[in-house]
Amino acid sequence: MTIDRQVMQRDLAAHLAREEGLDLLPQSAHADLKSYIVEAHPADSLQTASRMLSEGGERADVKVQETDDPSLFLLMATVLNEGQEEEVGFWVDVANPRFWLLHTKTNASPAGTALRRLVGHSPRLDTAWLPRNQLRSVQSRFKPFGFRLGFDERPFYRREVDMLELEEPTHKLNVEHAGVGAERIYQLLEANELTRRAMAVAEVAFWKSSGDGTQLMRLTRQGRLRSTGQSLDSHLQAARAVVRSYERFIVNLELAFGLQFSGDDSGGILEGRPLSIQTQKPEGFQFQSLVERLVSGIEPFRILGTVDWRAEEVAWVEAVDLHTGAPLRMDLTPTWMRVYLGHGLCGNTLARFITNLQRAYDASLSYFDEASDDLFAQEAQAGEALPT
C-alpha cells in the first residue's frame, strides 16, 4: 500500500468524522485532532531533517517509519500514562525542514509525553514557544472564540514560604473564557492592576467556517493546535498559518539579535544587538532568590548557570540552555534584562525564555531597544512590520 499525503489526509479526515481510520497509527476513540510544531535546528534541507528525526527517534526509543512521500514519516511510541502503557502515533510532516508538523489522533496526555521524550533526547529539537502576542496575532487572523490564561510564579518561591504572607496581589492565575466576547473580557482583565502582570496567555481559541462546517481550534503557547469539527482543510490551513507565522518570528529574532563581530585587520563592525526586556518588579519575593532559581535548571526554563552579582540587584549570568546546549549570557535586574545571543544560535531559545518569563514572572513584560521597535507587538508578529 502506498503511504503518502493523500493517505494521511484520508486518515485524519476519517478521525475528524469519528469514522474508522486507516490502521497505520494508534488512535484514541474520542481524541481531538492535534498538530504540534517541532523546531529542528539547524535543519535546512530535507535530508538533514530526515536524519535528525531518525536519530532523535532512535535515542528516544520511538519508532520512525518512512513513507512513500520523502517528507512524510510515521512515528510511533509506547508511553506510560497514568500507570498504563499506551500507544501513541504521529504523522510527521517535515516539508518545512526546520519547522515540522506532527499530527496525532491520540489523547493529549500520552501524545505530549511522547513528544517530550522525542524532544528531550534531541538537543537540536524543541517544541514551539509562542509568547503572548504571537498567540494573539494568530488568533486575530480568525474568528476569536476565547482564551485561557495560565500564570504561576510559584517556581520562584522557596517551598517553606507561606504564600499567605506574600504581598503579591496575584501569584497564580488560571482563567478560561469561551465566547465571542473574548477580546472585551481580555481587555477588562488587562486593564486591572490586580491581574495585568498575570495575563499570560496559555491558549487562544478561534474558529473558521467552510463548506464542511465550523472548525473550532485551540492553539497553546507550546505550539499545539487542537481542533474539533469536520473540516480537515481548515485545520491543516490553520496549522500551516501558525508555522508560517512562527517561522517568521524565529528567523526575525535571529536576524535582529544574533550578535556577530565581523571584520579583519582593517577594522570590524558589530552586527545584531542584545534582546532587552523591561519588566515590573514583583512585590512578593527577593530578586536574588529569583535569579538563583531562574538559573538552577528548573522547569520550565531549563537554564543552568552561574551568577556574578555586580550589585545587590544586578546579576551577570553565564548559563547554558539545558535543552539545546546553547550558551546564554544575561544581565538581570528586577526591572530590565538583557539576553545576548551569539550569531548562529537558535531563536527558539529566546522564544522559550520570553514565553516562560511571561508565564512565571511578568506576563506584561515588554521588549525594547534603542530603535524602539517592538518585536513582540502584534503587528510585528504578523510580519507587516519586520525589524530592520
Binding site: A31, P123, G263, D264, S296, L304, V320, F368
Partner: protein, 297 residues
Amino acid sequence: MPPWPHPLYNIGYRLARIEQPVGVEGGEVCADLVLTAEERNAALVVECKEGTVQHQQATRYEQMTAVDLVQTGNVTLPNPNEALLGLAYAVAPEHVESTLMGLAKYAPAAGVLEVGSELKWHGPPPVDPALRQMLSAPISTDLEAVPRLLLVDEATPAQDLAGPIANALHGAIVQGRDSVTISSLIEMACWGWPNFGRGFQGKLSRDVQKMLKDAASRELSGIVSVEGARNQSYATVRIHGSATATTQAGELRAQRALRGKLESFVLRVSGRPANEYPGQLRLEVSDDDFEDDLSDD
C-alpha cells in the same frame, strides 16, 4: 526606559567601525570607534584611554580629515569634503585632567568624554552642533548597565575569560559533542575575538589551552582532555563523559554536578570568591514539577 542611555543614537549616530586603521598625513592611526551620522554628514572618532596621551597617536588624530576617514577607513559619508569630523578621548573620571593636559599639547581640537556615573564632555566643544547641544549638560549613567558586547581586548588575560569558556564547554557537553576546538570555545565565549589581531589570537589560544589542560588533570579529570596541535587555534578539547540519566530529574542532578566542577575550575583560575556579592543566596533547589499546558481531550 532603557537601562543604558544612548544619546549618540538619539541624535543619529551609528557605530560604523571598530578598531579601524585610518591613513593620515603622518602615517596610520587605529581608531577604537568610528561613529557616523549620515543625515548631518558628521563623524565622531573615539579613542578609549586610561589616562595616557601618546604623542604620535594624538598628533595623527589631530591631522585626520573626513576625507582620510572615508578613503582609508571603510566609512561612508554623504559629502566627505564638507563633513563634520569630531574627535574624543573617552576616559574614566579620574583620568580627565591628565588627558586634557596631554591633548592640549598634541591634539588641541580633541575633546574628552568622561565616562562614569555621568557622561560629560570636556575641552573644546564638539564641532557637530547636535552633539554639542546633546552634551551641553551631563547625562546620568549606570556603569553596571553597560551592554557586555565585547568581552575582550588585547590586554585581557585568559583567566578573565574562564567563566565564559567554562560555560561554552558546558554547552558543548550538553549538546553531546565528542570534541570542540579551543578556537570554537573562545568564539562561543566572546564573539569576534579573532578581530583583535593574530598575535592576540595566538596568545589567547595558548593560554586557554594551558588553562583547560591544567583543569583536565584537576577539576575536569575524566570529563575532558586537551590535545595539542601545531596550530594552537585548532587544539582540541575531547569530551569523555557527558551527563546521562534516565529521568529528567536525574539528568538535572548530573548537570548540576558537572556545573559545580566547572565553577570550581573558574574560581581557582580567576581567584574570585564564590560569593561575589555578600547577599548572594545559595538555594537548595528542588526539581519541582511545573504545570504545563497539556490538557487531555
